[in-house]
C-alpha cells in the first residue's frame, strides 16, 4: 500500500502533498521536512530507495523517489508494493502530467495544484494503483474538465463577461467623422451588451 505521495522542489517547498493514512497536520509537515532532508543527501547516481524516516512508520516502510529537474517525486510505500513497479508508476504519473499540461514544468504544478490532485486521483486511489493506461487517464481528465467548463460557463458567464468588459480598454468612438464635406453621423451605440 502507498502511504503517501510527496512532491517538493529542490529547496523543500511542497508542491503536492497527499497522505493515504491519517496523520495530524503538524506530523504531516514534519514528515515532508524530514523526507526532504533524507532525499537531499542522496547523490544522483545511487539507488532510488531509502529506508523511511522515523515518523512515517516503522521498518516496513520505504521511500522510493525520482528526481526530475527541480522536483522530487517521493512515494512512501510498505513492503507489499514492488519497488521497481513503483519506479515505473512514478514515471507514468509524470508522463501523464506532461500530457495533461503540455510539457509540464514546476510552475504548472504550482499554479494548478488542484488539477494535479485530480490527475493523481485517477492514478492512485486509497493507496492502491488504480489505472496505469495514460490514454484512459487523460481522457477522463479531459471529460471532467469539459464538464466543469460547461457548468462554469452557464452560470458564471454573465458575471465574467461584465467584469471582462469593464476591464477592457475600448478606444474612444468618434461621434462625428469629418472627412472633408462628408458628414457621417455615427449612431450612438450603447455599451456592449
Amino acid at each position: 500500500m502507498i502511504q503517501a505521495i510527496l512532491v517538493f522542489n529542490n529547496h523543500g517547498k511542497p508542491r503536492l502533498v497527499r497522505f493515504y493514512q491519517r496523520f495530524p497536520e503538524e506530523i504531516q509537515q514534519q514528515i515532508v521536512r524530514e523526507t526532504f532532508h533524507l532525499v537531499l543527501k542522496r547523490d544522483d547516481n545511487i539507488c532510488n530507495f531509502l529506508e523511511g524516516g522515523s515518523l512515517i512508520g516503522g521498518a516496513d516502510y520505504k521511500l522510493i523517489y525520482r528526481h526530475y529537474a527541480t522536483l522530487y517525486f517521493v512515494f512512501c510505500v510498505d513492503s507489499s508494493e514492488s519497488e521497481l513497479g513503483i519506479l515505473d508508476l512514478i514515471q507514468v504519473f509524470v508522463e501523464t502530467l506532461d500530457k495533461c499540461f503540455e510539457n509540464v514544468c514546476e510552475l504548472d504544478l504550482i499554479f494548478h495544484m488542484d488539477k494535479v490532485h485530480y490527475i493523481l486521483q485517477e492514478v492512485v486511489m486509497g493507496g492502491m494503483v488504480l489505472e496505469t493506461n495514460m490514454n484512459e487517464i487523460v481522457a477522463q481528465i479531459e471529460a471532467q474538465n469539459r464538464l466543469e467548463k460547461s457548468e462554469g460557463g452557464l452560470s458564471a458567464a454573465p458575471a465574467r463577461a461584465v467584469s471582462a468588459v469593464k476591464n477592457m480598454n475600448l478606444p474612444e468612438i468618434p461621434r462625428n467623422i469629418n472627412i472633408g464635406d462628408i458628414n457621417i453621423k455615427v449612431p450612438n451605440l450603447s455599451q456592449f451588451v
Binding site: 513497479g85 515505473d88 496505469t132
Partner: protein, 786 residues
C-alpha cells in the same frame, strides 16, 4: 464593501512574491480572513474558489480547519465544479477523528446512487481515502451495487473502495467475495488490477477465501499467459512490456495461492518458467516482472530446476550495473536466506563485493545479508571482510556491524585465540559503538582461556599503550593487566613479538588512564583495582601504588573514593591479607545478570560477612569469631594478627568460596522401631548443617522372612508445631529372604526446637494376611530435635 476576490492563481502569485517567511504569513493570514468572511456570507458561486485557495494554504502548512463545513456544503451542491473541490477538501481536511466526517455520508450515498459517472468516481475516491468504519458499514451495499454496473470506469473505482472497506470492517468480506469471480472475466485492465488486489486482500484475511480462490488459478495463468505472449500493444505497455503492473499483481496473487499447495503450484510451473526466460530485462519494467516471478517461484512448491533458475537470476542481478536492481536483488536474497541457505551461499562473494558500495542503502542491505550468511566454514574470511567494512562504514551502520561481528564470532569462532583477536579488533576499531556486555563477554572469555593469558595481556597492553580513548578497550585492558600483570612482565609470550615492559611503564600507563579526561568513572574504577592487584603481582616495592591509592582516597567520585579508602586500609592494617584477597579471580559464570568488576567485589564483601554470621555453638567457632572482630573494624583488636593456621573450618583463602565450610555434625545413631515376623523398620536420621531446623529421616523396611511383603504403605504423624513432608517411597514390595528394602524419606521441620514425637501407621500384606500397625516411636535420640 465588496472586497475583490483573488483567484487561486493570483493568491499563489502573491505568496510567491513574498520575500520572507513573515511576509508570506502576513499575506496568507489576510487572505484567510477574507476566506472566512466569504464563507460566512459570500457568494455561493465563488465558494469553490475560496476552498481551493484554502487547500493551497493548507498544503503549505497553515491551519485550515475552518474550511471543513464548507466542504460539506460544496459536496451537497449540484454543480460538478463544487463537488470536485468539496470532495478534495474532504479528503485533505476531514478524517475519522472529526465528528463532521459522518455528515458527508448522506451526500456520498446520494452521489453514489444518483450521480453521473465522474461524480460517482469522486465519491468512491473520497470514501476509499477517508472512509471510517461507520461510513463503510453504511455504504457497503451501495458500493456492491456499483461493482456490477455496466460502466467500467465506475467499476474500476468501486473495487479499491471495496478493498478499503474490507480493511476497515473485515466482516464486509462476505459481501465482496461473490462478485470477484465475475470481475475476473473482464478484459479491462484497470478492473482486473483492482480485482486481483481485492482477491489478495480477501485471501490474506480469511483462509476459507484462500481455498475458494484456488479454483481461479487456471484462469489467472491464462490471463498472464496472454499478457506475456501477445505482442506489443500500445495500450498498457511500459517500455515494451505489456502492462507490467498487472503482471506483477497476478504473480503476487499466484504466490499467495500456490504457497504450500502442490496442485496449484504445479499448474503454475510452466508459466513461471516461461515468464522467467522470456521477459525482456533491458528495461526496468521487465526487471520488475522478473523479480516478482523469482519471488513467486521461491515461495511456492516449485520444481527444483525452477528454483535453481530463480536463484541464478538473482545472482545475475547482483552483478547488474543498475543500483536499483542490485538493491532489490539483495532484498530478495535476504528473504530467501532462511529457506534456501545453500543456494544463497553460492553468491556470497558478490554480496561481499556490495559491502564496498558507496551507496548507503546498498551497503546496509549487503551488511544484513553478509551477517546472515556467516557460517562455521566461512567465518574467518567473512569476519575479515566485515572488519574491513567496519573501518570504513558510515556511523549509523557501525553499531550494527560491530554487534553483528561479535555475534558471529561467538557462534562460529574456530579457536579461542581467533575469538579474542576478533573482539579486540572490533574494540579497537569501533569501541564506542559496541554493546555494553561486550566488556563482560571478553573478560569472561579471556579468563577462561588459561593458555592465552600471556598472549591476551601482551596484546591488550600494546593496544592500550597506543590509545586510551576507547572505553570498552581500556576497561578490558585494565582488567587484564591487573590480573595477569606478572605474565606481562615476564614478556614470555611466543606468539607476539617479545615485549620488554618495565614495571614502571605499566604503572605509568594505568595512572595515565586514571587521570585522563576521556576515562569514564567505570573505567577509572577498573584502573584503580588493576593497580591494587599489581601490588601483589609486581616484584618492586609498592610505594608508587600506595601513593596513588591514597590520593584517590579524597576523590570527589564516591565510587572511586570508596575503593581507594578500602585499598588504603588494606595496605595499612591488613597487609597480611592483601595477597590472598588480590589473588587471581575464579571464572565468572556466564549468563544471568551482568557480572562486572564492581558487582563481583561487592558480592565478595557480602559473602565474607555472611560467612562470619553467628553459627550455633560449634567448637571451632572461636577462630572465626576473631575474624568477626576484624571485619567489624574495631581498632583495638586489629593490633594482634589473628592465627592464620588452617582451622578445620577452612583457611582464609577459602573465604572466597562459599558457603563457608562448617565442621560436619556428629552422626545420630539409627533406631529400630518395628519388628514383626521378619519384617523390620529402621529409622536413620540426618541433620543437614545448613538448615538447623530440618531433620531428614530415612525409613528402611527389610524382610528376612520367607514371604513377600506387598502393598506396603507407611504413614506418619507429628505434633502440630512440626511440619512433615513424606517423599515417595522407593517401592511398595519387599521380596522375601532379605530382598531389596523399601526406603522412604521424611522431612521434618522443627523451627521451635520442640521435642520430637513421631507416630507411624503401617499397612501391608504378608504371608497371606493383611497387616495394619499403628505405634508411636519411642526412644528418639535427643540430637534429632535439639
Amino acid at each position: 464593501m465588496v472586497v475583490p476576490l483573488l483567484k487561486l492563481q493570483d493568491l499563489i502569485e502573491e505568496i510567491r512574491r513574498a520575500k520572507t517567511q513573515a511576509q508570506e504569513r502576513e499575506v496568507i493570514q489576510k487572505e484567510c480572513a477574507h476566506i472566512r468572511a466569504s464563507f460566512r456570507d459570500g457568494d455561493p458561486l465563488q465558494r469553490h474558489r475560496q476552498l481551493a485557495k484554502l487547500l493551497y494554504v493548507h498544503m503549505l502548512g497553515y491551519p485550515a480547519h475552518f474550511g471543513q463545513m464548507e466542504c460539506l456544503k460544496l459536496i451537497a451542491s449540484p454543480r460538478f465544479t463544487d463537488k470536485r473541490v468539496g470532495y478534495l477538501g474532504a479528503m485533505l481536511l476531514l478524517d475519522e477523528r472529526h465528528d463532521a466526517h459522518l455528515l458527508i455520508t448522506n451526500s456520498i450515498k446520494n452521489d453514489l446512487s444518483q450521480g453521473i459517472q465522474p461524480v460517482q468516481g469522486l465519491a468512491l475516491c473520497t470514501l476509499s481515502t477517508m472512509g471510517s468504519a461507520e461510513m463503510c458499514r453504511d455504504l457497503a451495499t451501495e458500493v456492491e451495487k456499483l461493482l456490477l454496473q455496466p460502466s467500467p470506469y465506475v467499476r474500476k473505482k468501486a473495487i479499491p473502495t471495496a478493498v478499503h472497506m474490507i480493511r476497515k470492517v473485515p466482516e464486509l468480506s462476505d459481501i465482496f467475495l461473490p462478485p470477484c469471480a465475475k470481475l475476473l472475466h473482464e478484459r479491462h485492465h484497470g478492473i482486473l488490477l483492482g480485482t486481483i488486489t481485492l482477491i489478495m486482500e480477501l485471501c490474506e484475511r480469511n483462509p476459507a477465501a484462500l481455498r475458494h480462490f484456488r479454483k481461479v488459478v487456471p484462469q489467472l495463468v491464462q490471463i498472464l499467459r496472454m499478457l506475456v505472449t501477445t505482442g506489443y500493444s500500445t495500450e498498457h505497455s511500459i517500455s515494451g512490456v505489456s502492462d507490467p503492473f498487472l503482471q506483477v499483481q497476478i504473480l503476487r496473487l499466484l504466490r499467495i495461492l500456490g504457497r504450500n499447495h502442490e496442485e496449484s503450484s504445479e499448474t503454475m510451473n510452466d508459466l513461471l518458467a516461461q515468464v522467467a526466460t522470456n521477459t525482456d530485462t533491458s528495461r526496468n519494467a521487465g526487471n520488475a516482472v522478473l523479480f516478482e516471478t523469482v519471488l513467486t517461484i521461491m515461495d511456492i512448491r516449485s520444481a527444483a530446476g525452477l528454483r535453481v533458475l530463480a536463484v541464478n537470476i538473482l545472482g545475475r542481478f547482483l552483478l547488474n550495473s543498475d543500483k536499483n536492481i542490485r538493491y532489490v536483488a539483495l532484498t530478495s536474497l535476504l528473504r530467501l536466506v532462511q529457506s534456501d541457505h545453500n543456494a544463497v551461499q553460492r553468491h556470497r562473494p558478490t554480496v561481499v563485493e556490495c559491502l564496498r558500495e558507496t551507496d548507503a542503502s546498498l551497503s546496509r542491505r549487503a551488511l544484513e545479508l553478509s551477517l546472515a550468511l556467516v557460517n562455521s566454514s566461512n567465518v574467518r574470511a567473512m569476519t575479515q571482510e566485515l572488519q574491513a567494512f567496519l573501518e570504513s562504514s558510515p556511523l549509523d551502520l557501525r553499531a550494527d556491524c560491530a554487534s553483528g561481528i561479535l555475534l558471529a564470532a561467538e557462534r562460529f569462532a574456530p579457536t579461542k585465540r581467533w575469538h579474542i583477536d576478533t573482539i579486540l579488533h572490533v574494540l579497537i576499531t569501533a569501541g564506542a559503538h559496541v554493546r555494553d556486555d561486550a566488556v563482560a563477554n571478553l573478560t569472561q572469555l579471556i579468563g577462561g582461556a588459561q593458555e592465552l593469558h600471556a598472549y591476551s595481556v601482551c596484546r591488550l597492553y600494546s593496544a592500550l599503550a597506543e590509545d586510551i580513548s576507547q572505553q570498552p578497550l581500556v576497561q578490558v585492558a585494565a582488567w587484564c593487566i591487573g590480573e595477569y600483570g606478572d605474565l606481562l612482565l615476564e614478556g614470555s609470550c611466543e606468539e607476539v613479538e617479545p615485549l620488554q615492559v618495565e614495571e614502571e611503564e605499566v604503572l605509568a600507563l594505568l595512572e595515565k588512564v586514571l587521570q585522563s579526561q576521556m576515562s569514564l568513572p567505570a573505567t577509572r574504577g577498573y584502573a584503580l583495582t588493576a593497580l591494587m592487584k599489581l601490588s601483589t603481582r609486581l616484584r618492586g616495592d609498592n610505594n608508587r601504588i600506595r601513593q596513588v591509592v591514597s590520593i584517590y582516597g579524597s576523590c570527589l567520585d564516591v565510587e572511586l573514593q570508596q575503593r581507594a579508602v578500602e585499598y588504603n586500609t588494606l595496605f595499612r592494617k591488613y597487609d597480611h591479607m592483601r595477597a590472598a584477597i588480590l589473588e587471581k579471580m575464579p571464572l565468572v559464570e556466564r549468563g544471568g545478570p551482568q557480572v562486572d568488576e564492581e558487582a563481583k567485589e561487592s558480592k565478595e564483601a557480602v559473602q565474607v560477612s555472611k560467612a562470619a554470621a553467628p553459627v550455633p555453638t560449634e567448637p571451632q567457632a572461636s577462630k572465626l569469631l576473631d575474624l568477626l572482630d576484624l571485619l567489624d573494624d574495631t581498632p583495638e583488636d586489629a593490633q594482634h594478627p589473628p592465627p592464620l593456621d588452617p582451622s578445620p573450618g577452612g583457611t582464609l583463602v577459602h573465604l572466597l568460596d562459599l558457603p563457608c565450610a562448617l565442621p560436619p555434625p556428629a552422626p545420630i545413631p539409627n533406631l529400630k522401631v518395628f519388628e514383626r515376623e521378619g519384617v523390620q523398620l529402621n529409622l536413620s536420621f540426618t541433620r543437614p548443617p545448613g538448615s538447623p531446623a530440618l531433620l531428614l529421616v530415612t525409613v528402611t523396611t527389610t524382610n528376612s522372612s520367607e514371604g513377600d511383603v506387598t502393598h506396603f504403605i507407611c504413614q506418619a504423624a507429628v505434633p502440630k508445631s512440626f511440619q512433615l513432608q513424606l517423599q515417595a517411597p522407593s517401592g511398595n514390595t519387599v521380596p522375601a529372604w532379605g530382598g531389596l528394602p523399601i526406603t522412604q524419606l521424611f522431612r521434618i521441620l522443627n523451627p521451635n526446637k520442640a521435642p520430637l514425637r513421631l507416630k507411624l501407621r503401617l499397612t501391608y500384606n504378608h504371608l497371606g494376611q493383611s497387616v495394619q500397625e499403628i505405634f508411636e516411636v519411642n526412644n528418639l535420640p535427643v540430637e534429632t530435635w535439639q
